[in-house]
Amino acid sequence: MLDRILSHDRPRSRWLALALVVVFVALAVAPFVFPGVKALSVAAKALVFILLVASFDLLLGYTGIVSFAHTMFFGIGAYGVAIASTRMGPGFGAVITGTLLALAVSLVLSLVIGLFSLRVKAIFYAMITLAVASAFQTLASQLSDFTGGEDGLTFKNPELFSPSFEPFENPVLGLAVDGKVFTYYLLFAAVLLLFLALLRIVNSPFGRVLQAIRENDFRAEAIGFRTVVYRTWSNVLSAMFATLAGALLALWLRYVGPDTTLSFEIMLDILLIVVIGGMGTMYGAVIGAALFVLAQNYLQDLLRLGAGALEGVPVLSQLVSPDRWLLWLGVLFVLSVYHFPTGIVGRLRALALRHR
């Protein structure tokens, strides 16, 4: 049963399985166990990033395409929900319309970009997407009547998901249940389903072809697969999932702006997570995203401790200052590309093999 749900792609490492279970359980019970606004938003962010990074992994890890336009599709999803909700007024109709429209836009855009530039080398595609994504970011901040410009859009969720919605008079299991909690569980369910769908995709015959293209596109073409078609499909699928992740983020934040969805920093974050978690393993996205979001929010506290201890030492205290957490992740990133290109997940699986 579980095997079928996981599409026969088992963790294949006891430690990995344990880590996955821990992440799953922690996210499942987060609203009840970790009280406070910050903890819940950290959990929600982890959820969104799991989906976003997993969708990027379909492209980078399984197909071997580097795209820098992933945040663009992420942003399209978020803006779709936000714009529809502000134009049509809050309600499920608006959310669904916005998501569907965003999906349509992403479909067309990713298809066009894919057909236009996936025929050529990986490097060329990376550069084109970088340029397109930056143009899109400019576009979003310029069309201020439509997108709210640099300020972004703040909107209201449907009744069920708004924080003021409180169905129960008494706390349930010690938690005052409100719309925020419902939104969280919507995110949880959606991310779980979509993640399993992605797992299904990469373990299907289609996913195998993608991996073949990654390993040797010339040979894959020679066997008789039309690599351009497969690459384009992979690109489109990954864009779709990123769009959905964006829509979920918008629902959670009830706000969308260029910095939260479109900025290049987020693209770098995605890259960091994919590589550190493990390219070409969907589970890498889960582990990586959980670790990254934790690091982003709590590593700074840890570094603050370190900085306090090293107070007065000129260079070292600068190096461990809480603002420099990205430096350490960057170093980790470079090291993981060299020394364990399959990331944490690949490492754990290799360990399990050795012990067998």
Partner: protein, 340 residues
């Protein structure tokens, strides 16, 4: 068959002028000519053209190293922006120290800028050497890893810059004597833009001279055309490549100084911002081509200034539009490098 052409190509003086493709140059002139009636007044046109050329020259200086490195070793350095940022920050330090001296008069100001440029080039070049050793060397021939690793190098580099100079934007004022503009008729030409154009033209001339008139240049061009053949003739292309990488990094540092002075401020994110611009330029020019990079940079600079005057909103997308238009005309860029 391929061999014979390469062997004859080794005999100098026959090759260069034989099949020079003039169309991109005409395109450049046509853009300038077409802008004239659109803008309407001669003085604005002169001002904008000089500004556009100055911007183009700066962009060319930054991008030339990137395109050569790609042409020679098939390495695309996504971390090129770090050298730009480093050069610019180095210059703020040097020029901050020499501020009082630089304000005394024209020559002192030029000398201060010159010192800043030298310092920036030295530091960026040294970092380039280290970058090649540590970051790029282990991943030759692996495109995917190159993109990731150089991107990682950029993240780390940007953070280190933040450690040294702080995370905030730093003002980078021009020395007093270089501010202001010359008036020719009604056309105002900023002094700094003239200086930038002059330096840019010098760098371009030097680069063209090195590439076309010296043995090193011959080897570089030959390496871009056919790397294995050069290696089989007994030249160590790795060493040549390290040299080009360092020179390219130093040029990026120089470009960073000029870009910083052009914008009058620098921020640690400058590298990532300029990256997009220079990628567009080298795609337009044809990956690996120096002349293409030059024409592409000038086109981008001119378009940015013309559209900035005619339709400011459109100007933000002028680069992308230009790239798409050029790629529709020549899918491999203006001067496609053969064998790629």
């Amino acid at each position: 068959m391929n061999t014979t052409t390469t062997v004859t190509a080794a005999v100098p003086a026959v090759i260069p002028k034989a099949s020079f493709d003039r169309k991109p140059v005409w395109l450049l002139l046509a853009v300038m000519a077409l802008a004239f009636p659109a803008i309407g007044s001669a003085s604005s046109w002169i001002t904008l053209t000089v500004a556009g050329l100055a911007m183009g020259f700066i962009v060319f200086i930054i991008a030339s190293g990137l395109t050569l490195v790609f042409g020679l070793m098939d390495v695309l350095n996504f971390g090129h922006g770090v050298f730009i940022a480093l050069g610019a920050f180095m210059a703020t330090t040097v020029m901050g120290g020499m501020a009082a001296f630089a304000d005394q008069g024209g020559w002192q100001a030029l000398l201060a800028i010159f010192c800043a440029m030298l310092a920036a080039m030295a530091v960026a070049g040294t970092l380039g050497l280290a970058f090649e050793r540590v970051i790029v060397r282990p991943v030759y021939g692996l495109h995917l890893k190159q993109i990731l690793i150089t991107m990682g190098g950029m993240i780390v580099g940007e953070e280190i810059i933040k450690i040294i100079w702080g995370p905030l934007q730093i003002a980078m004022p021009l020395p007093e004597p270089l501010r202001g503009a010359y008036l020719i008729g009604d056309a105002a030409i900023e002094k700094y833009r003239l200086l930038a154009s002059f330096i840019g033209a010098c760098v371009f001339a030097l680069l063209v001279w090195t590439l076309s008139r010296t043995k090193v240049g011959l080897l570089i061009r030959a390496g871009v055309q056919d790397r294995e053949m050069v290696e089989s003739l007994g030249y160590r292309i790795r060493r040549l490549f390290v040299g080009v990488f360092v020179a390219g990094s130093a040029l990026a540092g120089l470009g960073g100084v000029m870009w910083g002075l052009y914008q009058q401020s620098v921020s640690p994110q400058i590298g990532a911002q300029v990256n997009v611009l220079i990628f567009i330029v080298i795609i337009i020019g044809g990956l690996g081509s120096t002349l293409g990079c030059f024409i592409g940079a000038l086109l981008v600079g001119l378009m940015a200034n013309y559209t900035g005057f005619l339709a400011p909103k459109v100007a933000l997308f002028s680069n992308i539009a230009l790239m798409v238009a050029i790629l529709l005309w020549r899918p491999q860029g203006l001067y496609p490098v053969t064998n790629r």
